[in-house]
């Protein structure tokens, strides 16, 4: 079994979108609409502690995970590798991909609002708009399909 973990330096939404494209839960061949992305986020962006790793799904014997690591991204990946060794797991079965976040102001505002009660719907709309404008970012990550992507 292979394990692919998509992570970002924010709240994990960018990582979630890249993982979703990988699993074909979002289209990778055509640009989805803002409404499609917002609806997808509505179904998946649960409020959980920062750093939490989520399993999004499984495809052809591979498990796909996503998480938001804030400023701990580089450190967390190094720590994962060391603990995989501690547990005598096969390192070559694990792939970690850093997903950049869109630079749009709407994205940052969306991430900020995501954990504010009553603002989540607005947050999803901001995030979806920014994501669609810079959708190529996520597709580029999926093209880096080798160890340590």
């Amino acid at each position: 079994m292979k394990h692919r973990v998509y992570y970002d330096s924010g709240t994990g939404v960018a990582a979630l979108l890249a993982a979703a494209i990988r699993l074909k839960k979002l289209r990778g061949d055509v640009l989805p609409s803002v409404e499609t992305v917002a609806a997808f986020l509505r179904d998946h962006d649960k409020v959980r502690p920062k750093g939490d790793v989520h399993l999004l799904g499984e495809l052809r014997g591979e498990r796909i995970y996503w998480c938001g690591l804030g400023r701990s991204a580089t450190i967390a990946v190094r720590t994962w590798r060391h603990f995989l060794h501690l547990y005598e797991e096969r390192q070559e079965d694990y792939f970690f991909y850093q997903v950049p976040s869109p630079k749009k102001r709407r994205w940052k505002r969306g991430e900020r609002l995501l954990n504010k009660p009553g603002q989540r719907e607005k947050a999803r709309q901001y995030l979806a708009e920014a994501a669609v404008k810079e959708y190529a970012l996520f597709l580029t990550v999926l093209m880096t399909d080798w160890q340590e992507g």
């Binding site: 920062k50 750093g51 939490d52 400023r71 580089t74 967390a76 190094r78 720590t79 994962w80 547990y87």
Partner: protein, 160 residues
């Protein structure tokens, strides 16, 4: 069971705690400045190594003891580690993580930052050693608490 002391950079509080745990620093008296500075791993870890699990030795229960730096957002990095292992179905019950950073004073923290972050080793290293010594018994008390809990977990594990 894996006993892990963690802090910001795995250079001062976790290193001193592990040294007390393994008997490399005394528990009944304050060590001299030289004794602290003579620890081969004190104030040594570089920034790029943060996140590395450093093996330090086996304790009297034959459990391996480690130090680990988790950077500026230790709670997030810890959550990422434990939830990752959980999602993989690996048993995290044998990890005994202990946060060493709250058990040192501001002298030790300032000295550590001067040395590791700003490269002022000449001033930072002695200051951090002074800080460790100044409130040394707080650190000893912390480690003794860890050992009590470790012993309790061992008894529980073996049905004692």
């Amino acid at each position: 069971m894996h006993v892990i002391y963690y802090c910001y950079g795995s250079a001062h509080s976790s290193v001193a705690s592990a040294a007390i745990h393994l008997g490399r620093l005394p528990s009944d008296r304050v060590p001299t400045q030289e004794e602290v500075l003579r620890l081969t791993d004190f104030d040594q870890v570089e920034s790029w190594q943060i996140g590395t699990l450093f093996f330090k030795g086996h304790d009297e229960f034959d459990n391996p003891v480690y130090t680990l730096g988790l950077g500026p957002e230790q709670a997030v990095a810890k959550q990422a580690l434990l939830s990752f292992l959980d999602r993989l179905g690996l048993d995290t019950g044998n990890l005994f993580l202990n946060h060493a950073l709250p058990h040192i004073n501001r002298y030790a923290k300032a000295g550590g930052a001067l040395s590791r972050r700003y490269g002022l080793v000449k001033w930072g290293r002695p200051l951090s050693a002074y800080g460790i010594r100044r409130d040394y018994f707080k650190l000893v008390e912390f480690v003794q608490g860890v050992k009590v809990e470790e012993s309790r977990r061992m008894m529980h594990k073996h049905g004692g």
